[in-house]
Amino acid sequence: MVHQQQLRVSTRGRGTFDISRQVDEVIHDSGVKQGICQVFIHHTSASLILCENADPAVRTDLETFMKKIVPDGDSMFRHIDEGPDDMPAHVRTVLTQSSLSIPVDNGKDTLGTWQGIYLWEHRTHPHTRKITVTVMGE
């Protein structure tokens, strides 16, 4: 059985947005009890991560880490037509994930208690991001 659905997520500019609940709703709608759920983001300047969800400071620290290794406005970048965050957003996407696969069991995602699925917006301005969730199994 295959169930596929698209989500639109509005971001408020750079940062992480918890989409675990939306993904779990798609799994529920699919009727699949056991299988795999694939989450895919259709962009090259926003990405997906699985991250700890207990302490928001973890995600703030990840942001700080990324800023340090891929600084906005780095003089090595020429692809900056859309601003100093343009090329860094592409690099940050490549360093993280465009697609995630999660096991489905008992009609639910089997994320750990402290795991959350996050959309990571890498552009400083707000965007609407498209995500495809595909649930396969029986």
Partner: protein, 138 residues
């Protein structure tokens, strides 16, 4: 339904090469309309990435960033070159992807308008690469 094959990709030398068309053709051949497509590369110095196709500069600057993050030892010392070459490439490889999963929608790769799938050859000592493609769905 599952459709799988392993393809040999020609040696292109160091750099990123778009293989989106090849994947699209394979999905078409599979006759699967909805599901997922998994790509897996059988190598430790070549990987897969989803990158921006709007501007060629993006691809080059991603490679330049990675080279800076884990500089190649190729030019350091000829005597240690052969064995040391593998170290930075292996580090870049660790932050890149060995396997990549995309949705299949309407019998096509369900990816964004500006997304392309690239084989990223990270070694100067490139070789033919084996890529296994698995399309699952109905």
């Amino acid at each position: 339904m599952v459709y799988q094959d392993t393809l040999q990709l020609a040696d292109h030398g160091e750099g990123a090469y778009e293989i989106t068309d090849l994947i699209a053709d394979f999905i078409k051949e599979s006759k699967i309309r909805v599901g997922t497509c998994q790509l897996f590369i059988h190598s430790s110095s070549a990987s897969l990435l989803i990158g921006d196709t709007a501007d060629e500069v993006t691809k080059n600057e991603t490679a330049a960033f990675m080279a800076q993050l884990a500089p190649s030892s190729d030019n350091i010392d000829n005597k240690i070159n052969a064995s040391m070459d593998a170290v930075p490439e292996a580090m870049r490889y660790a932050v890149a992807q060995t396997s990549l999963s995309i949705p299949v929608s309407n019998g096509k790769p369900g990816i964004g308008v500006w997304q392309g799938i690239f084989l990223w050859e990270q070694s100067k000592h490139a070789a033919e690469r084996k890529l296994t493609i698995t399309v699952t769905g109905e």
